[in-house]
């Protein structure tokens, strides 16, 4: 398809170009709209709804809460998982507000040094907002188990901690590797109410069976956006929903048309 001069759209990629352009416009539209004040409402997520209950239970039993935003650093090979870590950190703002309110001890375990200052500032801010700035020093604790080649030392550090503190509530949201399994197992054995979420597909099975609530895949981004009220992100989520609906329409409409003898597939190959 000629555009002008010798410039032309490459055959077979025209449908894709149009689809991408429309998708960009939709996401852009909803992002701008959200920033201007029309913030979309995100549906209920059982895992997120259960957090206050779980921290309330910790308050009742007098046992602490454990939180981790996952085990991927911001640099190198894991950089692609930064969005998951940020989702985990957003949920931590929510969790730490509640622990401050209910006066429950909060343990945050970390595997990467670069997460420490971020977590420190989140905790400080939450306890300030709840009017108990002094409690940060006494009621929260950040434990750092650095990762060398494998996550085994982090896992064994957290397992040791669980045996000592016997958490009533264990919340883990972010990118995880195999330590997910070991920690969720120990949490189950200690009788903690467990809420977990990750977009690492290999780890989801372990969370589903060992935890009470699991946020699956993109749910953690939505959860992070909800608790942080990050407007561009919420707008983008609404935009993605529209693209998903368009895709569902293509799937169903395409299937029906193709079976009625209309060559729908050639449109996708255009």
């Amino acid at each position: 398809m000629a555009i002008g001069g010798t410039m032309q759209l490459i055959a077979g990629r025209v449908f894709g170009a149009i689809f991408l352009l429309i998708s960009f416009l939709i996401v852009y539209f909803f992002m701008t709209r959200a920033v201007k004040g029309s913030v979309p409402k995100v549906r209920k997520m059982a895992g997120l709804e259960a957090i206050p209950e779980s921290i309330g239970r910790a308050a009742e039993t007098g046992r602490p809460v454990h939180y981790t935003p996952g085990t991927a650093g911001f640099s190198g090979a894991a950089a692609g998982f930064a969005a998951q870590t940020f989702a985990g950190l957003s949920v931590l703002t929510h969790v730490s507000r509640l622990t401050a309110r209910y006066k429950v001890p909060l343990y945050v375990t970390l595997a990467y040094g670069e997460h420490i200052p971020l977590v420190e500032s989140i905790l400080r801010e939450s306890y300030n907002l709840e009017g108990r700035p002094e409690a940060v020093a006494t009621e929260t604790k950040i434990l750092y188990f650095p990762i060398a080649t494998s996550n085994a030392p982090y896992a064994s550090g957290v397992l040791g901690l669980f045996e000592r503190i016997k958490p009533a509530s264990n919340i883990m949201i972010g990118p995880f590797y195999f330590e997910a399994l070991a920690i969720a197992e120990q949490g189950f054995i200690e009788g903690a109410m467990q809420i977990a979420g990750t977009a690492m597909t290999y780890q989801i099975p372990f969370f589903v069976v060992a935890c009470d609530y699991t946020l699956i895949g993109e749910e953690i981004f939505a959860a992070g956006a909800v608790v942080s009220q990050d407007k561009p992100l919420l707008g983008s989520i609404a935009g993605q929903d529209i693209i998903k609906i368009i895709t569902i329409a293509l799937l169903l409409g395409g299937f029906i048309l193709q079976n009625l003898g209309v060559d729908f597939l050639s449109l996708l190959k255009f």
Binding site: G5, M7, A82, S150, I189, K244
Partner: protein, 214 residues
């Protein structure tokens, strides 16, 4: 030029420009403005920048260990010396002859490195079996579906399944190619739409975490 331009705006302009070149070159053929060779050189250059970034990562790791040694961090500095010494050994041997081809270099990989790396990965077998007993509990319909599908797939993967009952591999195969394939397909399509949205946010400089900002 003010330093905020170089500091804040230039990187975002560069992200936008390189991103748009890569996307446009895929859809449009424009020999007049050398779009294709530009994109091709750009991906080669980006690969090299990634290689430099890898070296940066190794240097950062070395600095962490050197700091441990200098500060005599309790319970760590001796291990840091071991790590630094072996890294140095590997590098020195690597520089003998054509880079990284000397038999001693391959030996260091073939015996110590493979033994340690595979052993550490094999620890997961223990974790999985212990979790299977201690925490793999069917507490909901969802967990039930997961466990049943898992057991059928295991009995397809292990030859013993077919030896017990020929139906195990058949059902396992069906689970793999129908519910598993469809579930992951839905997941993948969702993730692809997510990637397009994140892509736009990155190109517009609206994504957290890019460029080390939070």
């Amino acid at each position: 030029m003010s330093s905020t331009f170089l500091n804040k705006e230039l990187p975002i302009i560069l992200i936008f420009a390189t991103g748009v070149i890569m996307i446009a070159s895929y859809f449009v053929s424009a020999p007049e403005i050398y779009l294709d060779p530009l994109a091709s050189n750009l991906s080669q250059a980006a690969s090299l920048v990634a290689a430099y970034a890898t070296i940066l990562g190794i240097v950062t790791l070395a600095i962490i260990h050197i700091n441990h040694v200098v500060k005599r961090t309790k319970g760590q500095w001796i291990y840091s010396i071991v790590a630094l010494a072996l890294a140095l050994l590997m590098i020195v041997v690597g520089f003998i002859g054509e880079l990284g081809t000397h038999p001693y270099f391959i030996w260091l990989y073939q015996y110590p490195l493979i033994a340690l790396d595979t052993t550490i990965y094999s620890l997961l077998a223990f974790y999985i079996v212990s979790a299977a007993f201690r925490a793999f509990k069917v507490r909901s319909v969802e967990a039930l579906i997961l466990v049943v599908a898992g057991i059928f797939v295991m009995l397809m993967n292990a030859p013993v399944g077919a030896a017990i009952w020929s139906g195990f591999p058949t059902i396992g195969n069906w689970i793999m190619s129908v519910p598993n394939s469809s579930g992951f397909r839905g997941f993948i399509i969702g993730a692809a739409i997510g990637a397009i949205a994140i892509g736009l946010r990155v190109l517009l400089g609206k994504e957290k975490g890019v460029l080390g900002r939070s």
